[in-house]
Point group: C2
Chain length 315, copies 2
Amino acid sequence: MQITFLGTSSGVPTRSRNVSSVALKLPQRSELWLFDCGEGTQHQFLRSELKISQLTRIFITHMHGDHIFGLMGLLASCGLAGNVQSIDIYGPPGLNEYLQAALRYSHTHFSYPVKVHTITSGLIYEDQEFYIYCGVLYHRITAFGYRVIEKDRPGRFDVAKAQRWHIPPGKIYSQLKHGETVTLEDGRVINGADLCGDAEIGRKIAYCTDTVYCDRAVQLAEDADVLIHEATFAHQDAEMAFRRLHSTSTMAAQTALAANAHRLIITHFSPRYNPGNPIEFKDLLKEARAIFPKTDMAYDFMSYEVPRRRDSIIV
Amino acid sequence: MQITFLGTSSGVPTRSRNVSSVALKLPQRSELWLFDCGEGTQHQFLRSELKISQLTRIFITHMHGDHIFGLMGLLASCGLAGNVQSIDIYGPPGLNEYLQAALRYSHTHFSYPVKVHTITSGLIYEDQEFYIYCGVLYHRITAFGYRVIEKDRPGRFDVAKAQRWHIPPGKIYSQLKHGETVTLEDGRVINGADLCGDAEIGRKIAYCTDTVYCDRAVQLAEDADVLIHEATFAHQDAEMAFRRLHSTSTMAAQTALAANAHRLIITHFSPRYNPGNPIEFKDLLKEARAIFPKTDMAYDFMSYEVPRRRDSIIV
Ligand SMILES: [Zn+2]
Ligand SMILES: [Zn+2]
């Protein structure tokens, strides 16, 4: 699972940071999921190594322009690229109506199926490998945070070992593969776990934007391998953060700390902290690290490969 | 009057060409007019030397996404930039409804007045210095071509010469300034033109996209100093041009020729002619020049200072 930041600015694009969008690459199935889609996201795709043709799902946090104005262009271009199978879009009420209006007035017809799912808090998606939950954050309009959970995978079944133990092949193997304990015809009791490698513990990624500090963000980020959290403002501008219902760098760090997250990546920065200003981006990172040391600061095209827990323990 | 191309690709952006937008800078009044506004136009502003704060008018040709999907983001950012006075937008039916829907669903409120004018063929704007006309081209949906006409300016009144001729100052001066013939109290008959420099002939710019070859484009481009015309396809792909109601490079050139235009700039190229393909952009330019030698090929951020006729004659 590889996270790529396609836009890390809040509100307006700057020369070096585009407005919000984060891609999650699932290499094992050649799929790409997108979180938010600010204007110019399709342009960022062109400049990245990501393939627009792998896009299957788009998750929208809220309806502010800097999170959705790239959606129509991206979807239209996916159609012209010609190799997209279908796209499922998840987002708050109003998203479907917005897309329908934009389609109608721009005379756009997608050449592939696009399905819009209006979400409410809770489980919004499940397949063999993933669960995705969402919850309402605390912003000026309804904004959803997302929690992507990779399901645990049982360890690999050691066939050679089973054969060495003279366990006859058949239905028993599939029980043992799932870690069950079975009694053989010869009376031996075998624990499947003894024939399986270490289970792979699923990874958890939380994406919380736009929001001021809130308990729901902490819940969504609980024990997360990575929490991606907005940090629009520096700590000094907390009053503005409370007024506009955005987070400071320190609120993001406190969320990561309270949630026992393993890593925090802050993003969605106000252009007011561009290099050369009294407070700069690097100061926001410093503030966050003082509270939660394992913090990184996103920049456009930054990639982060989410490590497996198992690997983390060994290394 | 300086023309800057902010996007020169048709349909989808490429790494080097954004979708349609052309800026017209009027230095004498620190104003900027924009023609079309594809996604990423505000990003192109950031990369150019143009000032978004000078933007006063936006003219939209038609409602296809590659000409309008940058409008909401640009207008929202104009508000956040904080120094825009007001913006007038001109375009086809549906434009106002599209903007109203996008505003509503994205909870956007502009902090300055935005007025949308739904246009029909004919004169759509006039001020002391300019007329702007539009006419319906021939595309899959209603598409307007524009003709910007700078009014002729009487030559500069030579006050020193009038004094040498012992013409008493007063109301007479303003009559002479306008080139009128007056009779002085002493009986002399003075032709104002003899006291004025050469009149400055107004310049004419035509912008025709998207369209297949049509008489209306020729009318709009009549005697134009510059005709900006789409050339989506190469001559070889004329069948596709007729089917999709776009122009070939040769249609653009024929329009310039029939209109007696002084210069042609082609734009809005299909990405299929990217360098490395069997037919390349440079081939489109060659084709157009074979018919209309004074043809240039637009590229992103290309600037063209429209020369005055007078200058042209002297040089
Ligand atoms: Zn935002
Ligand atoms: Zn077009």
